[in-house]
Every structure is written in C-alpha cells, then in structure tokens.
Subunit: 584 residues, 2 copies
C-alpha cells in the first residue's frame, strides 16, 4: 500500500540529525545568584530570568537569546558548568538517551525542562501572576505553530514548545484558582508524579510494578480502615476518575445480584432500577447508559432545600419501582454533592437499602476526604454500612490528577465480576504469590500508576497533615459564608452553613438589587455570573464556577480545595466579583 503522503522526505533521515556537542556556549544559568538571593539559588533565578525573557517576546515565545558569558555557572567564577556545554538548537531527540554518549545531553536537557517547570511553579503560587492568560480557541490556535510535522524539531524548539504550553496553561496551583473540585498543586505529590513518570510502568502485575502494587495494597487497606470496615478488610482499586469508580460500583452491584449477567448479558436479568438524588453526579446516569441499564432506570430522588436526599422519597420510589416490576439493585448516596456540597443521610439510606436488599454505594468522590477529619467526619456517619465507596484523593486532598479509589466491602467480588484469565498476562505458574497480580479485577488492561503520589503525600503529611489541610479549607469556606450571608448584594442559594466547602450564592449588581418585577430580575440575574466569570478570565485574576440548578438561575459555586488559599484570597474574590459586576 502506498504511503498516504504525510511524509515530505523520501528517506529515513531521523538519525542524520545528530548534532555535535559544542565546547562552551552557556546561558549563564544561575548568574548573579549570589547577589540576588540569600543562600544563592541559581536555578531559581535562572528560571525566573527565562520567564522574564519570554515575556519580553511576543505572544508566541521564540528562541531566547543565549548569553555569552561562557564558562560561568552562576557562581560568578569561571568553571565547567554543564549548562554551558550543550547547544539545544543543534540537537535532536535522537541525540538523547539511549543514544551513545547521550548521558550529558539528556541530563542537561531534562534539567533545562525542570528549570522551566520550577519557574512555572514559583510563578503559579505568586499572587502577582495571572491565574490564566486567556485566549479564545481560534486565537490560541494561531498563536503558535501547534501542527505536527514530518520533520523533527530541534531540542531548542521543544523547550520553546514547553514554555508556550505553560504560558497559556491555567495555573491550577494559584491561590486564587477555585474553578473545580480539584485545585492546588502539592509539591510532594508533584515529586511523586515525576517519579511515577520516570518509572513508567503499569499496575496490572506485581512482576512489572512490585512496589506500586504493594503501596496500592497498603493504601487501600488504610482507606478501608478509615471508612470503618473491620481490620480494613475488603477490596478496591484506583481507577481513572470518580465516574469510572461509580461505574465499577454499579457493575459490582449488578453482578452481586445477578452473576449470570457477566456471561448472558442483560437479557438474563429483569429490568433493574437504580436510585440516586436529583443532585447527584451525572456519572451515575452515564454509567447506567454504558452498562446497558439505561438512564430511564436511574430514578432521581428528591433532595431537600440544602441538597440532601430525602429518605422517605427514596423508600417511596423503591416501592413504586417494585410495583412496576423493576428490581431495585443499586442506591448511590452522595457524600458531598458537586454543586451544594450536600451529604445525603447515610444511616437512614442504609436502613432502607438493608430493608429492600439493595446495594448501597456512597459517591464520596468529593466529600469522602472528610473522613480524614475528626471535626467533619460525622457528616459521613453510616458510610461504614455501604457496600462500596468512591473517594477521590485528587479532589479535597489535593493529590495531583488523577487519583480516584473505589473501595468495596466484599472481598473477591471485583475479581469474580471482571476477571477474564488472560493467560498471557496472568500466568498461573509464576514464581510469586499471584494474589498480587491485581490486573484482572480491573476493567482496564494496562492501568496507570496513580498510587504513588497519594502514598508519598500521606507519608509526608501523615494522616494529621491531611486532616489539617482539609479543616483549613472548611474554615475558609465558613469564613466566606459568614462574610457574605448578610452582605448587601448577596443572596445565598440555600439557607444555613454549608456542610462542605461549597458556598453557593448570587451576586446582585446594584442595578438589579431592587428590581420589583421578579421575572425580569431573575432574567437579569441569570446573565450576571457568566459575564463576571468571562471578565475574571479575561483579567486572569481568579476563576470560580457558576451554573444554574433546577429552577434556580445561574449562581456562583465557590469551592475551596486549594491548600494555597488564605482568608485574604477569599476577601479578594469578593472584591473582584463586586469590581467586575458592579456595572451589570
């Protein structure tokens, strides 16, 4: 078959791009460090200088000029600084390891990337820096050459691409980034993620990930202990996000009740019904659609004013479903809803689940981490009665994305539900204890190593460190709530102190504060949050989410999971909303 014409060169010349090493053309990477920083810190200074240089250029970062101070490593004395010996504009990826004599070039290249990253990190935590340098998609597409080419780019181009990518990235570590449930950047978590990338392996067998498999075992057990399951017994897995964890739970519930579904499919099973609050996460419906259960079989239970599922309505709807011939098999209670941060009443729900013999799942993707806090874990009372729990350390515990766990009370069920015995991966005559080959209980085959960052952070903080971090975020949200609940121009979306860090409110610009026509006022108010949000992004000063919910027009949903945020950042947010919204 003919090639499709996406190569412009006739031959394989990738190996011809091997550049040669130059004797000495440094960029004076840590020059003047001694003068500027106590203790001297070349790498940092240099990185910051790069940023300054980059900012001097146009929107599209271009090659930065190399300085001519050959032989200076930043100690202000002539020496053999490695940074001075490699010219990236002459080098290609083929010059790096595993190339012969690629060691020095590789380490210098990676060090250069690390310098860019270190500068970005320091910048991200700096309140003087923008959270985002926002551009519309079409603009951004034209701001750089993002297209893929037939020909290789030099390592210098690669470094430029790295800088450009970060220039337009959202600074998710920024103390004023509040946009998602996952915010912040933990330094130990980051280090762990760098190590994970370097180890570049796969969770399916002990053979290829011995330490990581053990750490997953240790950590899941600890999480189950914290849930309150006796001796930490049970099962679990780290999955690619809370939606997949919830889908696993639904899959297990179905298999537990109708194991024949694995071989025979849904045609062997009566019509099923799943139940979850009208405020629950959309992944419950997504899961039901994927698993062949269908979204109509997901029955939405009424929530009260503060967003908690009403148990009486759950029971009523279970009975109703049974009368219609459906088999109730799954209740997903939410511990920390996405918008209100509400905790469903787990004890009452578990009583109902027990009465009707239904699998009880707790979607604690957002709120599960409150189990780490002695002050707040009462909000999940009853979680120990659940059959399964989703808990995303990448949200409230600020573990780098992605890190989501599904914990399961019954041992062996996941394996039975999902195993396919692929003999090329899970050989039965291996020379070690095969119970550590956890891959066959997953839906995935290859599985990314998500455990190490959580484990290392836990090690670094201790349980009490996570607790302190979580408690602080909840204090900040209480501060926000107290600050605005009676403030002129604000209305709370629901009454009472929020249970999680979600503070939901309307900001009413002066112009609509006293509008008499309620419908007119509502119509205006609906447009306020999107405009303020767009302005926030254009100024780049902060980011916070908004949405409508039911018959409630667009309101702000402030969430705090960012350990970098302080009381002053909360004050700033309020001032900023007022500044950007006063003319609306």
């Amino acid at each position: 078959m003919a090639a499709h014409g996406f190569w412009s060169l006739g031959g394989d010349n990738a190996s011809a791009n091997t550049g040669s090493q130059s004797p000495s053309t440094p960029r004076a990477w840590c020059q003047a460090a001694a003068q500027k920083l106590p203790g001297g810190f070349g790498s940092k200074l240099c990185a910051l200088l790069n940023v300054a240089e980059m900012e001097k250029t146009a929107d599209v970062p271009t090659k930065k000029p190399l300085e001519n101070s050959a032989g200076s490593c930043g100690c202000n004395k002539p020496c053999n600084c490695p940074k001075g010996t490699v010219i990236f504009s002459d080098l290609y990826s083929t010059d790096l390891l595993p190339a012969m004599d690629g060691d020095t070039k590789t380490m210098t290249f990676l060090q250069e990337v690390v310098d860019i990253l270190l500068a970005y990190i320091v910048e991200s935590f700096d309140r003087e820096t923008k959270v985002v340098d926002f551009h519309y998609p079409n603009e951004l597409l034209q701001m750089n050459n993002w297209e893929l080419q037939d020909e290789p780019a030099t390592l210098d181009d690669i470094l430029i691409s790295c800088r450009a990518t970060l220039k337009y990235a959202i600074k998710t570590a920024h103390p004023r980034y509040f946009n998602q449930l996952s915010t912040g950047l933990d330094m130990v978590g980051l280090a762990a993620d760098w190590l994970t990338s370097t180890a570049n392996t796969n969770m399916f067998t002990y053979e290829v990930a011995p330490v990581f498999v053990l750490l997953e075992y240790v950590t899941l057990k600890k999480m189950r202990e914290i849930i309150g399951w006796s001796d930490g017994r049970g099962d679990g897995i780290f999955s690619p996000g809370g939606a997949i964890s919830n889908m696993y739970a639904m899959l297990l519930a179905r298999f537990k009740m109708f194991p024949e579904v694995k071989e025979k499919g849904m045609s062997s099973v009566p019509r099923l019904a799943a139940f979850t609050s009208e405020h629950s996460h959309f992944s419950i419906k997504k899961g039901a659609a994927a698993l062949g259960i269908g979204t109509e079989s997901v029955i939405c239970i009424k929530a009260d004013e503060s967003g908690k599922l009403i148990p009486a309505d759950l029971e009523r709807r279970i009975l109703e479903a049974k009368q219609k011939g459906f088999v109730p098999f799954f209740v997903s209670a939410t511990a920390g809803t996405t918008v209100y941060g509400a905790f469903d009443p787990l004890i009452a729900i578990s009583d109902i689940c027990k009465k009707y013999n239904v699998w009880m799942h707790v979607d604690g993707a957002w709120g599960g981490s409150l189990l780490m806090s002695r002050r707040h874990r009462w909000k999940l009372d009853g979680v120990e009665r659940a059959n399964s729990v989703t808990w995303n350390p990448h949200k409230m515990m600020s573990v780098p994305l992605q890190c989501s766990a599904l914990l399961v009370r019954e041992e062996g069920l996941m394996q039975n539900c999902n195993q396919m015995h692929a003999c090329y991966l899970f050989q039965q005559d291996k020379h070690y204890d095969l119970s550590y080959d956890t891959g066959d209980k997953a839906l995935q085959c290859g599985r990314h190593v998500d455990i190490f960052k959580l484990w290392l952070m836990w090690r670094a903080k201790g349980t009490i460190g996570f607790e302190a971090q979580i408690d602080k975020c909840l204090e900040l949200s209480e501060y926000l709530y107290n600050k605005i609940k009676d403030r002129e121009g604000y209305e709370m979306v629901f009454d009472g102190k929020p249970q999680h860090t979600n503070v939901c409110f309307w900001y009413l610009p002066p112009g609509i504060r006293y509008m008499e026509d309620k419908e007119e006022r509502k119509k205006h108010l609906h447009k306020v949050a999107p405009v303020i949000k767009a302005r926030m992004m254009e100024y780049g000063t902060t980011m916070v989410s908004y949405q409508p919910q039911g018959d409630k027009v667009n309101f702000f949903r402030m969430v705090i999971s960012n350990p970098a945020a302080t009381f002053e950042d909360i004050d700033f947010l309020i001032e900023e909303i007022e500044r950007l919204g006063q003319d609306l």
Copy 2:
C-alpha cells in the same frame, strides 16, 4: 461521631513541624565533577554518587551521610551553592510552597528529587545495571516501612522513600526489558509528562485545559489522516488504555444501531452478537460483560496458524448468529494480536461488515503504530474502512504510559452516545466556542492529560522519527527470527516471518531435545519457560514474557518496542535463555 482511632496524637500539630533553615550544610552535590566528566557534570555525578551510597547500605535505604565540604557547589571553589543551604531532615512538606518563603526549600527539594530521577534514568540505560532487583511480595513488604502513619515524615524520609521505591522498581527503560508491549522510556516523552504533572489539569473543558484540548484536537486529526479518513475528519478521544478504547467502540456500535439503548437499556434491544478472533485481546469480552451484552454474545472466530482471523469463519458465524435470532452489531478485527502479533485481513473483514451492516472496529492497540511506517503500513490495508480504530501510542511508539486513542469515523456520535449535559460543567452560556468542551463525549468526568507527551514527542521526532523507531524495532525482531529459526534447541510457534515484533518460540534445553515420548516432552517443555523467566528475574538480567496458547504449551513471546534495544541485546537474550535453561 468519634474518630476511629487512626490518629495517635490528640491535636493538629502538622504546622508545628516547620523546620528552620540551616546556614550551610551541603552534600557537595557535584563535587569533583570537573575531574570526572569532560565538560563537568555535577548533577549527574552527584546523582550517581547517591546511588553508590545507597547501594552501600542494606536493602532498606537509610539516611545518607551528609558530607562536610561546606561551601562547595561542585565547581571545586567555595561558593553559595543552594544545595548546601537546606537540611531536609529538619524540614516537612509544610515547609514547601505554598508556605511563606517556601520557594528556595521547594526548589531545592524538587531538584533533589530530580537528581534521584536523573541518576535512575542513566542507570536504567546502562546494561551493567540489573533490569530488576527482584524480591517476593512478602520479602519486599518487610524490606522497608511502607505503612502509612498518623505523623508526618521529614523531607529527608521522603527522599529516602523515593530512592527505595526506585531501587525495587523494574527498569522499564532498560535495553533488555522486553516483558510487555510497552517498554522503553523516551526522554522527550518523559519531559512532557513532567510538564503535564506540573500543569495538573483536567481535559473536560477548554476553560481549564486550553492548550491541551487544542493539542488533542490537532493530534487526533493527524492520526485520522494517517488512518486515511478524508481530511482527517471524524472524532476521537484519548482514553485510559486500550481496553477502555475498545469498550468505547463497542458502546458506539451499539448506540449507532439502537440509539434507544441509552435511555432504555438492553431490554429495548434484541440479543446482540459481537465477533472477534480467538486470538483477540481479552478486553473485548470484558467490555461485553460490562456493557450488559454478556461474554457469551462475543463469538470467537477461528484464526489461522499464524494467528489471523479467517474471514470465511467470520461470515459463517455471522450467518449462524442471525439464524439463532441474534443481531450482529460489532466486529473487532485485531491489527497486531497480543501474542502472535498477527494482523487480521482488514479488507476481507470490511467486505463482510459492509455486507451485513455491522460496525467494524480495528483494535490496533499494538499494531496501529505501524501506520507510521511506509514499509509496514500495508499490514493494515483496509483500516480506512473501519468505523473505529484503537491505537495506543504508549506501546509501539514508546510514549510514556498511558496514551491510548480511540478514533471514530462518524462525527458527533460519541457526543450523542455519552453526553449527559451536566450544567455545572458544560454551561451553555460560556464566552467561548463550546465545541472545545470535549468532556461530555467521554465516559469519564475528569480525564487525565495524556496528549502532551505524544504531541511533544511527535514534534521532536517528526513523523519520520517515529517511522525510523518503529522500523528499527521490526528489524530487530527479524534479526531475532532469523537467528533462532534454524538454531539448535529452538522451535518456532508458528511458521514464517512474524508480521509484528512478536517472535514466539520454544527453547528446548538439551535434556528434552530428543525425548521420544511426545506427551512427556510437552509436559517438560511447559515448565521450561516459567523456570527460565523466574531465573531471569532473580538474576535481574533481562525480562521477557511467556504464556501457553490454546493447546500450545508455554512458549516465549519476545516483543520489541524498546528503542534502546540493539542487535547485541537480542544476542544477549538468546545467550541468557541458553545459560539459564541448559540444565532443565
């Protein structure tokens, strides 16, 4: 509710652990660099020294002694080297950013981690280093304190944990690591993954991942062009691995034929039948089980001696299924089977799919990358007729794990199939083009950024660079095949030159080479590969996979996707198998 007793301290003292900065206690991080390495390379040398130090200690790495050469940064002259100013044994994670004045400590800490990683990388490519320092699970559990504690550990302990983790890790970059379809470590890919971790964001909206969303768009389009879809039109997504990509394909196929399944579930749908080769990946059955289709509805089609699906058998089984009242909806052809590396005849299969109006999926998780090679892409002739294609750049293209794409020919279908319109994430009144909010077409909610490493590697290598890398791996496998096909003591599992880099063979130790009793010989032979593999791991010299298949007893499956491997490494593998197996 009372705490569960997993804290041993009464109060929140995490913040009490703030260590103070010491004036000057360096570890002479790049001492003597000038003497040892031309060009001087302190960081490298230092990192190597750390490894040497670590190896001097017992199996459990402990604190390394700090050297007393205060004021030396490795240039052999007194200076203010930053490495000398931070004592990690006095510091905790709470001293790092966002802590006040955490900049220097953070950068020094991260630099220390990077030094550990750089040393590991250099070691990994060194053939003198073991591929694995293997220990059985129970041993490894006892070799370090892996347990999670209530109290925080010092940053020094964290660095020790990083070293310990890498000490027992599999060196997947090692030129003699052949164990999985994903091997090797690309330096640009690694740099990109470090950047991805640092950017720490989520793919669901343009709002929080503007560059990455655009790069996914650009790259998916390029991949579709390479498949041969006109103007690169179509759709696609990066998913957490080939198994999930295949599950997406099956989900789309079902939705395409029966869109009502999304709301009504499988009870609205006739009994479905899916078809795939008996040599296909187990994820097809896993997906069918999860989606409520059932494994019995996956009909395994016969493969020929070399592992290719037999089209006549496919047609026969489709007709048979129809007769039994099943509705054939999905054929998954494999481009590069896991064990044999066989390519199913796509053109013949596509004719059958067209005739019976069945969705044609190509599972090219392993073999899809051959599309990048002008010499080898004919093996996928017909792929452009597929409705969907799985292609894992983390396998043959050596992109760091995980990086798997599903490409779909029909635009809009993924969105219709999976969207749930969560109004708190996919607000319809945002200020930018909403077609870039790709999250609602995924099964996941949060989605890890897997695109940047592929994009940056593509940039660095160009299409021709990937081509050269792939062609080289295929050359190596041909070399292996030629070397052993007539060599005494070897038997090939199937005749003829392999189409991918999979070389499947038995090694017959002298003792069983001339056994007359065929059953006895088979019984013995079945035990040979597991023993040799166990010995390989104990010596740590190389790793290669083995498995039985059908009635064939355990054989070695050699695969080459590691760009670091050379002809000499192939020679080594053969010598090693003979050395370790001669007494069996």
